[in-house]
């Protein structure tokens, strides 16, 4: 699956935090395509989404044990694109 498909799987997960992260990632991609930010800035903002997922995990709102394989793959894909 490419990143778009993985983001779609995250958006369909029904988990509020994951859906929000997927939506934000989609909005960042649009901003990049429209030239509102540069590639380095895009990566930095994507990295922040991964960090946000870590913060959610730290406060246990995001229980990674309850996430599906597809959603975890989506988060990993985000982290990988973010570098």
């Amino acid at each position: 699956m490419n990143l778009d498909e993985q983001l779609q799987a995250m958006a369909n997960s029904g988990h509020p935090t994951i859906v929000e992260i997927a939506n934000r990632a989609g909005a960042l991609k649009s901003a990049l395509q429209q030239g509102q930010c540069g590639p380095d800035e895009y990566k930095s903002l994507l990295t922040d989404l991964v960090r946000e997922a870590n913060i959610e995990a730290a406060i246990e709102d995001l229980n990674t044990r309850q996430l599906t394989y597809q959603v975890l793959n989506g988060l990993l894909a985000l982290a990988s694109v973010a570098g």
Binding site: E41, R51, E52, I59
Partner: protein, 132 residues
């Protein structure tokens, strides 16, 4: 039946005592630091696109580093420590962007301040709801 109820009450009481023991208690300084980060990121968003933005981001980084360092060795404080580390990294990226020769875009600046504020609110919730 009475024994069962007594055992249940002792179990509940034991859980409360255990919870109070293994969780760091509310800390005024920790709460103030995260509140300052939240407030500063909220107020500083209006500096985006202006020369003052760089100084605002530097000040925000100082606070986030203080918050991370302050929470680091408080016992039983793992969740705040992990969150503080992530927040510090977010702000560090932002500070580094202003140290590069390339200009920082308006979109990046406003999104960063918004993201930092949103996450500061989440962390403030952790810190504020610790047992007194």
């Amino acid at each position: 039946m009475k024994k069962l109820i007594l055992a249940f009450l002792l179990f509940l009481n034991g859980c409360a005592v255990y919870d109070a023991y293994v969780t760091a208690h509310f800390d005024n300084n920790e709460y103030k630091l995260i509140n300052d980060i939240r407030t500063m990121s909220n107020q500083s968003a209006s500096t985006c696109g202006k020369p003052e933005a760089k100084q605002a981001v530097d000040n925000l980084y100082d606070l986030s580093l203080q918050f991370k360092n302050y929470s680091e060795f408080i016992p039983h404080n793992e969740e705040t420590q992990k969150a503080a580390q992530q927040l510090e990294l977010m702000v560090k990226d932002f500070r580094d962007a202003y140290r590069k020769p390339e200009p920082v875009s308006m979109f990046y600046c406003t999104t960063k301040f918004t993201t930092i504020e949103r996450n500061a609110v989440k962390i403030q919730n952790i810190v504020g709801t610790k047992p007194r």
